[in-house]
Subunit: 474 residues, 2 copies
């Protein structure tokens, strides 16, 4: 088998039929939760529970053995105890299953015994032409197939972000968290021990998946470095990749070894590779989603020159610090912008970038400022700070509808001028203008520092693509 | 006047009577908002609105001039237009006012004209023995005096954290934000241009204020460096100070100059001074509050050795990375802890620090692990990750009451053993065990990286105090 072969992945992402081997009647068992999630999310293909001890489960006919199913089975989800997995896999081979998702834990992550068992399962799979997800994983989700085979009690929303996690607990927690935050996914996969299919394989698939605009990967280590680099080169030429790579310190690396049997490797090497292939590395989990939301929603910038519009002077200082310390540029304010704003602002406004609109209660000048910078070719990305909160903070409720209406008009300017804009609002969704921005595709961040990291990621990836293009033209 | 003299500050923090000069009937005017906030928050001293155009305001008798008030006035809050401030100040001098809070903007922050006006006001104050807060500020709040003279529409809660801000917009926004997050304050002051009273003065007062356990300062620059250092030495020997110092990059420093007329100064100097006096410097606004909440609630650690207890392996890796990269220590797990946990965990648990309790659904082993590390003198600070979420994430609702009950028992262990514990839960208050922890004095953080910064701050400040003590004994 060619190591870049991912033909079978179409049966993982778009199966026509799924068997759940180890499906259970006990609502606490994972074999129940997964079956229920599959049904509840509305998977349109066929679902076959497999359990020799029962006739039917959740309204579906139950089979004693996968071989007893008369139709074809593309995908098997396996939740039987570890020792039974080899027997079940033999049955899957006989049945002609294309992909097996092995949820069961107790393999290489537990020591030499488990390692042996994992090897055995892999041998059966290789001989029988089955690809394996896991073992020791927390399931997966594919929006385009209405396929929710994950553990979490609340179902993910469809969206444009793919999520790959080497940690099962992290995957479950994050999917729950993101769903609570109203973030949608095109796909999510808990990769587990990666006995067979690994990060690189999923990335190869996602590179050409039309429903995915950006991928987040939470990884501890990579199995095949050469393959990983080849895949990155292909993937990042198509869409952005955000990576949270753990095990970067020595004790972190030790902790990783006992977790998913991953070899964390020398962290500096990863840094070099990530830079080379335009991968965005993050260190805090919320940055993953902050940056992903920007790529999923905003146009890419042309460069790294930022124009900042603020409702207060303190934020101008904070934004300058945050942007400059990340190496982003703050061009000075062009004369024509100063002239226009002079007409509508009090005489003592700062006439600089970042623009301090001096606690203007009226939201109109913010829109004027945004449009002036949108039109001006000295700016590639805009940042809007402290907009639209006077109504609530200063108890001037009559302002709120106007703040919301202008937020919509500002969002429309992004579509009109195809230039990215990020908004900072410490209050988040509790303020209605934030909802207006988000519903109109403008991501809103809780702090200037977090937004600055997003701006940096947008600029860096745009720079990477531009360099590729320039190289191709020479 | 001795430059360390803060005698008059007692009239700012505990006035018996307050005049609001420029009080207004118009609900949009700040002279209305402040008067209303004073009354609504239940200030128990006397309140005198001053406005020559009306007889009464919000149920209080209104005076045409501060001199028309027959009783003593300790504190004047001034909201008249900038040009009228000198006349009003002359009247305050005649009346024997001790402190004037000048809310009005349009002074040194606007240029040479405003600078002249500010100088004039200061001269009047100096001659008349009045201390000035501001000008160009957003008011203040003192919990122990039930004194809310701030602009925000929602009133701060009483608490143990003092907050000093050089940016008015930031002060207003943060007070509103913190109140929404249920964070309480002992005092909050928007210092404005610091024409007279400055950061150092407020810190001198707060050092001995019994209601304050920790102070947060958001600053752009300091006026008198020598005085600042003297004050820091005194203040930080008493309680921790958390500083967000802006203007650290050159464009940030430029933005600061046009904001509050502050000279940001060479940032490296601040770093040296902060280190010397055990000041905790932060770079993101939520870190200010995260760290302050820990100091306000937890016992100080004896050292920097961290024990981590986790519900998932990925978090162990993340925690190792986060703690080790901040220079914190992760001692190995003592044999007796391994033995005890072997009795209650599956055989393949990791037997290491960070401890991976291998997705234990039962919350009991978490309490056992916490108590074992609390008792063990190899650990100074504990960190608990991913606790108590199985009930919700995996849809096992019968677990939730037990998760909450054990959370309470874990919180009690902190009191019993007087060793700090920080908890990480990405879901925040939406999960009930988080509320249980917080109601019992255990701060809960949204990410491992944020919690690691808190642990670092606790350890650093404890180290600073220990060094002082050792020096005194030699």
């Amino acid at each position: 088998m060619n190591k870049f072969d991912i033909d079978n992945l179409k049966y993982l992402f778009e199966p026509k039929s799924i068997a759940v081997i180890g499906a259970s009647r006990d609502p606490k068992a994972w074999g129940h939760v997964i079956l229920k999630n599959l049904i509840d999310y509305g998977f349109e293909g066929r679902i076959y529970p497999v359990n020799p001890k029962t006739e039917s489960l959740l309204g579906l006919k139950c089979y004693p053995d996968i071989r007893a199913i008369s139709e074809d089975v593309d995908l098997a989800i396996i939740v039987v105890p570890a020792k039974m997995v080899p027997i079940v896999m033999e049955a899957c081979v006989e049945k002609g299953v294309k992909v097996a998702v092995i949820i069961t834990a107790g393999f290489s992550e537990t020591g030499p015994e488990g390692e042996k068992l994992e090897k055995k399962v892999l041998e059966i799979a290789r001989k029988g032409g089955i690809r394996i997800v896991g073992p020791n994983c927390m399931g997966f989700f594919v929006a385009k197939s209405k396929l929710n085979a994950a553990f979490t009690a609340i179902a993910p929303k469809p969206g444009k972000i793919a999520f790959i996690s080497q940690s099962g607990a992290f995957a479950g927690t994050m999917m729950y968290w993101a769903t609570m935050k109203d973030i949608g996914f095109s796909a999510a996969i808990s990769v587990g021990n990666q006995a067979d299919l690994e990060l690189s394989d999923y990335l190869m698939y996602l590179a050409d998946d039309e429903t995915t605009r950006v991928t987040i990967a939470y990884i501890e280590g990579v199995k095949d470095g050469r393959k990983f680099m080849k895949v990155l080169e292909y993937y990042t030429s198509k869409k952005p990749l955000i990576v949270m790579k753990l095990g970067r310190t020595s004790s972190g690396a030790r902790a990783a070894t006992s977790h998913t049997a991953a070899v964390a490797g020398r962290d500096e090497l990863y840094d070099v590779v990530f830079k080379k292939y335009g991968v965005i590395r993050v260190y805090e989990f919320d940055d993953m989603f902050n940056i992903a939301l920007a790529f999923a929603n905003l146009p890419l910038p042309k460069g790294d020159r930022v124009g900042v519009i603020s409702a207060g002077g303190g934020w101008c200082v904070e934004a300058s610090d945050a942007l400059e310390s990340l190496g982003l540029k703050l061009p000075s304010l062009p004369e024509h912008v100063v002239k226009e704003m002079d007409k509508i602002l009090p005489p003592f406004w700062n006439r600089r970038n970042p623009m301090d609109l001096v606690a203007t209660v009226d939201p109109e000048p913010f829109k004027t400022a945004v449009e002036l910078l949108m039109r001006d070719e000295n700016f590639d990305i805009l940042m809007l700070l402290g907009y639209g909160n006077f109504g609530r903070i200063s108890n001037l409720p009559f302002l709120i509808p106007k703040e919301d209406a202008i937020a919509k008009e500002i969002a429309d300017l992004v579509k009109k001028y195809k230039k990215p804009l990020v908004v900072v609002n410490v209050f988040g969704k509790e303020f209605s203008n934030v909802k207006v921005f988000e519903e109109n595709g403008i991501p809103v961040y809780l702090s200037i520092q977090k937004a600055a990291k997003v701006v940096k990621a947008l600029a860096d990836y745009a720079h990477y693509l531009n360099s590729l293009e320039e190289m191709e033209q020479t």
